[in-house]
């Protein structure tokens, strides 16, 4: 389950945000604190998660303290889906 979510989000990041389709992203690779995802793309990520999983990520949560890796983001999605 979590692995599926990570794969889906990783695909979205590589294709739509980084525009490097063959780029692989590790489960524990820093996304926000490293600058891999720039601030202009965070809102795209939030909208994608919301549209795909029906899970709301508030704009005040779009920072490295809430999630910084694929694993953390997938964990957040699973937790909220269960709520």
């Amino acid at each position: 389950m979590t692995q599926d979510i990570m794969n889906t989000i990783a695909g979205f990041l590589a294709n739509e945000i980084l525009k490097q389709p063959d780029r692989s992203i590790g489960a524990d690779e820093a996304l926000i604190s490293s600058g891999l995802i720039d601030s202009f793309s965070l809102v795209d990520l939030a909208l994608f998660v919301e549209d795909t999983y029906g899970v709301r990520i508030d704009d005040t949560e779009l920072n490295a303290d809430t999630f910084d890796t694929l694993a953390q983001l997938a964990g957040l999605v699973v937790t909220r889906q269960g709520e």
Partner: protein
């Protein structure tokens, strides 16, 4: 004689309870500041500056986020006659080492007497300072006393002359930070007079802005004009806006906003990232003008914005354009309000090959140009050919201007100040043409890239890319490519490396992205690794950016 302090004193005496600013923060409730509140907090800063020996005419650099401290520190400096300069705040992406270097660049030329920042940032700033340097103190916000209503007559601000410099404005990056635009009280106030006239802007208006205050559009249109006019400013942080662009529309609805200024990309960004669920109960019918400024203006971006927001009460005729630069304080031209800005369909081939903007005939390929409007009534604009002679309508040349609101100079840089003028005309470095009295801006003579309204100097990016292992310094080139969907330019880096192994090239490209982002807060969209001797050089050995851009476009199929 009128200076900033005279205007502040008048508001303080005559309308102390009028709300000057609403400060909006994502995690807090909105804070309303009256002129009395604003000036009492500024008064506390003024007291602190004076107690520490800051003299009129000295520079105070402000390194603070959007919020009450920044406003208070700024107006406090004005009250004591010191010259505030707002520096971009350190973002989480930028490495501390690079920020220290940026700061050193700024200090070496601007020579500030003091820097104001947050307590947690003080040690960081101090570590960037050299013993015996110009900076005598780093003040942190926690050292400032409680609010104190200013006694204007005892403060040095009122003794400043109109010709004195009131503020400095820098653009970002190493190059920008060494080139502070110095503006006098008179220049700023002349600009505000002229700009208010063309907009019909008054104390009844409500400006809603998320723009950074270290940039001319945010500083002048989104900060000084409303406060020095007695209008209302609704101020949100750019960091909050970029994560939730719909907050702009919600704030316009809540505060009955009448004016906003946006860079072109923001029209696309707002329309593409806002969903109907964010717009429940939002009414945009009070918006008199949403003014597109600070990067090339695109008709398509206005259409995207109007298409989405009209159903929430937006008047499509509110979408306007402006051509502006810090060297003229702000506005140079403005589209007349109340009608759509003029659109000019020109023949693409004539534009490309003859530098002419002729109306397109049936069956020919067109380019749609959006007017930036007419010169403000205090500003004269000419389009010049390569010999400095004025050209006819519809001939493309360099835009030059003259006004009563020009910069005093680039601060401590008489060398570049002198080069910026030709026979008393300021050369903008932008290309454009006139048609029917309206100015159309077509491009730039300089290689500067504008990403989301922010100026990026390619030489800064090239130097960073050249620091990456596997890349030879001097064998990199950076340029901008316009992205239709986003409505702004994206930064491309081409770098030469010895390796022809695709995997190794990808690793090097990744390292360049990370290094550039860490050190400039600029995200590179495309990094292309090429073999040695790919990059074209000028006779003086510099990378010829436009030639390399053409080469890149011709060799790489666009998908």
């Amino acid at each position: 004689m009128t200076t900033f302090s005279h205007l502040l004193q008048a508001f303080f005496q005559e309308a102390p309870d009028r709300i000057a600013v609403y400060v909006l923060s994502a995690n807090q409730s909105d804070a309303a500041l009256s002129y009395r509140d604003l000036l009492a907090r500024a008064g506390a800063y003024a007291t602190a500056y004076r107690a520490r020996g800051i003299s009129p005419g000295e520079i105070v650099v402000l390194i603070l986020q959007h919020g009450e401290d920044l406003l208070s520190a700024f107006w406090g400096a004005i009250l004591v006659g010191a010259i505030p300069s707002i520096m971009p705040f350190l973002t989480e992406k930028l490495s501390p080492e690079r920020y220290r270097e940026d700061l050193a660049s700024l200090i070496s030329v601007t020579r500030p007497a003091a820097i104001v920042t947050y307590p947690e940032f003080k040690a960081e700033i101090e570590s960037a300072l050299q013993a015996g340097g110009p900076v005598r103190m780093v003040l942190d916000c926690s050292e400032i006393g409680s609010s104190q209503e200013p006694d204007f007559d005892s403060l040095p601000g009122l003794s400043r002359s109109e010709q004195d410099i009131v503020l400095l404005q820098h653009s970002s990056g190493t190059t920008g930070l060494q080139k502070g635009v110095a503006l006098s009280h008179k220049a700023v106030l002349n600009q505000l007079d002229a700009y208010r006239r063309v907009l019909g802007f008054s104390g009844e208006d409500v400006v809603v802005s998320w723009l950074p205050l270290y940039h001319d559009m945010g500083l002048i249109a989104g900060f000084l004009m409303p406060i020095l006019t007695g209008a209302t400013l609704v101020l949100m942080s750019p960091f909050d806006w970029v994560k939730a662009p719909y907050r702009l529309m919600q704030a316009v609805s809540r505060y009955k906003g009448t004016f906003s200024w946006l860079p072109n990309f923001a029209y696309n960004f707002c329309a593409q990232k806002t969903r109907d669920r964010h717009m429940e109960g939002v009414d945009l019918s009070t918006w008199k003008a949403v003014i597109n400024c600070s990067e090339p203006v695109k008709h398509e971006s206005h259409q995207i914005f109007a298409d989405y927001f009209q159903k929430f009460g937006l008047d499509a005729k509110a979408l306007q354009t402006c051509y502006a630069m810090a060297e003229n304080v702000f506005g140079v031209t403005q589209s007349p309000l109340g009608r759509l800005p003029a659109v000019d369909d020109i023949d693409r081939e004539s534009y490309m090959t003859e530098r002419l903007a002729v109306p397109v005939q049936d069956g020919r390929v067109k380019m749609t140009m959006l007017s930036s409007g007419k010169p403000l009534d205090n500003t004269r604009v000419r389009v010049l050919d390569e010999k400095g002679q004025e050209v006819q309508d519809r001939v493309i040349g360099e835009i030059a201007l003259q006004s009563d609101c020009m910069l005093t100079g680039y601060y401590n840089r008489p060398d570049i100040t002198e080069k910026a003028f030709l026979d008393g005309w300021y050369l903008t470095g932008d290309f454009g043409y006139f048609a029917d009295g309206e100015l159309y801006v077509t491009g730039r003579k300089k290689d500067m890239i504008i990403v989301g309204g922010k100026n990026v100097y390619p030489q800064d990016i090239e130097a960073l890319a050249g620091e990456v292992e596997g890349i030879h310094a001097g064998r990199t080139v950076a340029f901008g490519l316009f992205d239709e969907k986003q409505g702004t330019e994206e930064v491309v880096v081409v770098a030469e490396a010895e390796t022809s192994d695709a995997q190794e090239q990808r690793l090097i490209a990744d390292k360049i992205r990370q290094h550039v982002t860490k050190n400039s807060a600029i995200a590179l969209r495309i990094v292309k690794i090429v073999p040695p001797r790919w990059i074209l050089k000028t006779s003086s050995g510099k990378a010829a950016r436009s030639a390399n851009r053409e080469k890149y476009l011709s060799e790489i199929p666009q998908t």
